[in-house]
């Protein structure tokens, strides 16, 4: 659900005496403040308390490292980002298509249920080596396949749910209009499912990044964020490893925000809770 909808639904929970303007400000200030406090404590631990910089590099040294290896970080982010993107797109397409099929044919739905349930619980680490064997370790495809699988599950589940959300009154209406099944799909089923599909994709976006990255730990071409994190850590270059970690968090954030933006864009006119005039 979009954050906006949450606000609308829970608006009465706004602390007493807080105007809408204050709320808007606090919504931005609060997370920033929390972030700064954590960073501050971290820096304090390292530079004042003296937790060894060897194990826990200070934010400052991480930033220095970020600047120093900027080019290779960008390079690595692009590689991992591409894998994640391909996986997200493929997984979303597969998820939507298969959900459409499952929504249409009950047997497929019932047969796919355990398979999807299994996919949902399989650890990537378990699958990575066999997928590398199956698809070849010399291409990025194994990682993309992993990102695809990881994205597939939430998109499939949400889409399937979305396809089931059409309300009887709309179905009756379509029947009264003698609409063909294609018309029903286009004018009713897909638009109804859209918010669910988009939610699925948003959840999938973070998963795609993290799995593409983790998959790099288990073979394949080097150069992505995952392999660089491990290489740096293995040679005790923790500041550099953290710089790559920061990049991967940023990558995950970009994916999340992009899909959130997509959701907002396509959902501009989703009915909000009826607000009193």
């Amino acid at each position: 659900m979009s954050a906006g909808a949450v606000t609308a639904a829970t608006a009465p929970g706004r602390p007493k005496g807080m105007g809408p303007r204050t709320e808007a400000t606090l919504r931005i200030v609060a997370p920033v403040a929390v972030g700064l406090i954590v960073l501050g404590i971290w820096q304090f631990l390292v530079s004042v308390v003296g937790v060894s910089d060897y194990l826990l590099p200070s934010p400052v040294s991480i930033i220095e490292e970020l600047i120093a290896s900027w080019d290779s970080i960008v390079q690595a982010t692009l590689i991992t980002g591409t894998n994640a993107l391909i996986g997200l797109v493929l997984g979303s397409i597969l998820g939507i298509l298969l959900a459409a099929v499952a929504a249409r044919w009950r047997p497929i739905d019932r047969m796919s249920a355990p398979v999807v349930a299994m996919l949902a619980v399989v650890p990537i680490v378990a699958l990575a080596p066999v997928l590398n064997s199956m698809f070849g370790a010399d291409s990025q495809f194994g990682r993309q396949a992993i990102a695809t699988l990881a994205s597939f599950v939430p998109v499939f589940l949400n889409t399937l749910r979305g396809f089931r959300q059409t309300v009887p009154v709309h179905r009756d209406l379509m029947r009264a209009y003698a609409a063909s099944s294609g018309q029903v799909l286009r004018t009713l089923t897909l638009p109804t499912a859209r918010p669910f599909i988009l939610t699925g994709i948003r959840i999938a976006s973070s998963l795609a990044v993290i799995s593409a990255l983790v998959a790099e730990y288990f073979g394949g071409p080097r150069g992505g964020l995952g392999s660089l994190i491990s290489t740096s850590a293995a040679s005790s270059q923790y500041a550099r490893a953290w710089a790559y970690v920061v990049a991967s968090i940023a990558l995950g954030l970009v994916f999340y925000l992009a899909t959130l933006g997509l959701e907002r864009l396509l959902q501009r006119h989703t009915p909000q809770a009826r607000r009193r005039p």
Binding site: A9, P107, M118, P123, I124, F196, I210, V214, L225
Partner: protein, 326 residues
């Protein structure tokens, strides 16, 4: 999505739900047990059919597909069909019955996997519990103070984009310094901690949603009863959160297992499924079928974990009545 529309339940929505046809007040429960049992059996059979279908597709593709897979341009879009890449289904199953190694003392593969899975399950369960406490705790704080929600929620979401695997050694190293009196940090606790890191997220989100889910009308009812925060929590918020918490807990359980396995691989903890996963993966060149054993083990483990939480849902059935009705 939906609840926002019904939150302010206009006359339309409520009228619709009141006049919905169905056996809402027929004798006994919603469906009769015999029927229900029959349907459950059917569900299982269809599910089994789904798994068999996957096995069939596997074998048929293995039979017909080119040894080097289907390559379009640079990308191999369908996998190789060699025994190394895709062992026969029956080989994978048969392998489970054979001893792990030729060593005289070797146990059968399935037993090794089951024992490892049990060990991981225990660790994951601890991780899940920690995740539960942390997740629900955070949700309570965020529900109580909006400012806390605004400040924390973005970070909680962000926390899941952190490549956890990079932290396993750090967690292990920090843990090894914890020594309070007789309590000494054990390596498995690091693994459980990492499992809880994955488990807490859906639980926190689900619990928050759930705690925020009571209808305004119910909140006002409690206010009209002059009920305090704790009373409202116990009598209203927690019960209302159950339908949100259950799927969250299930997801959390699956995540805890995944996290435990990852962390075992990463820290090399002995005894668990993660450990045999890397070990047998290392033997996959000469014994391809063996490597699949722990994968199946991990999947079954995840299903068992998620399934046990689903069992919790059965016990809490009365708190899910609205869920079933809709």
């Amino acid at each position: 999505m939906r609840e926002t529309e019904s939150a302010r339940a206009g006359r339309g929505a409520s009228a619709a739900s009141v006049s919905r046809p169905g056996s809402r007040y027929g004798p006994g429960g919603p469906t009769r047990p015999a029927r229900r049992g029959g349907r459950r059996l059917a569900t299982w059979l269809w599910g089994l059919a789904g798994i068999v279908a996957i096995a069939l597709i596997w074998e048929v593709y293995k039979l017909l597909g080119p040894a080097d897979g289907v390559v379009i341009g640079d990308a191999r879009v369908l996998p190789r069909t060699t025994d190394l890449a895709m062992p026969h289904v029956w080989d994978m199953i048969a392998r489970l019955g054979e001893p792990v190694t030729r060593s005289a003392s070797a146990q059968p593969l399935w037993l090794v996997i089951v024992l490892a899975a049990l060990s991981t399950l225990g660790i994951a369960a601890v991780g899940w519990l920690v995740g539960l406490v942390v997740g629900v705790g955070l949700a309570l704080v965020m529900q109580r103070w909006r400012i806390a929600e605004w400040g924390l929620l973005p970070w909680i979401v962000l926390s899941q984009t952190v490549p956890l695997i990079a932290f396993a050694p750090v967690v292990k190293s920090w843990g090894s310094r914890v020594e309070i009196g007789a309590f000494e940090w054990q390596d498995w606790m690091s693994v459980a901690l990492i499992a809880s890191y994955l488990a807490f997220f859906p639980i926190a989100i689900g619990a928050l949603k759930g705690l925020q889910s009571p209808d305004v009308i119910h909140e006002e009812l409690m206010r009209s009863y002059a009920a305090g925060y704790w009373q409202t929590l116990v009598k209203l918020r927690f019960p209302a959160a159950v339908p949100y918490l259950l799927p969250a807990l299930r997801l959390g359980a699956a995540n805890a297992v995944v996290g435990a396995v990852v962390a075992e691989v990463s820290t090399g903890l002995q005894g668990g499924i993660g450990r045999i996963l890397i070990q047998f993966a290392g033997q996959a060149s000469g014994d391809p079928a063996k490597a699949w054993g722990p994968i199946f083990g991990a999947v079954v483990l995840g299903l068992v974990a998620a399934g046990s939480v689903a069992l919790l849902g059965v016990i809490l059935g009365n708190y899910r009545r609205t869920e079933e009705a809709s």
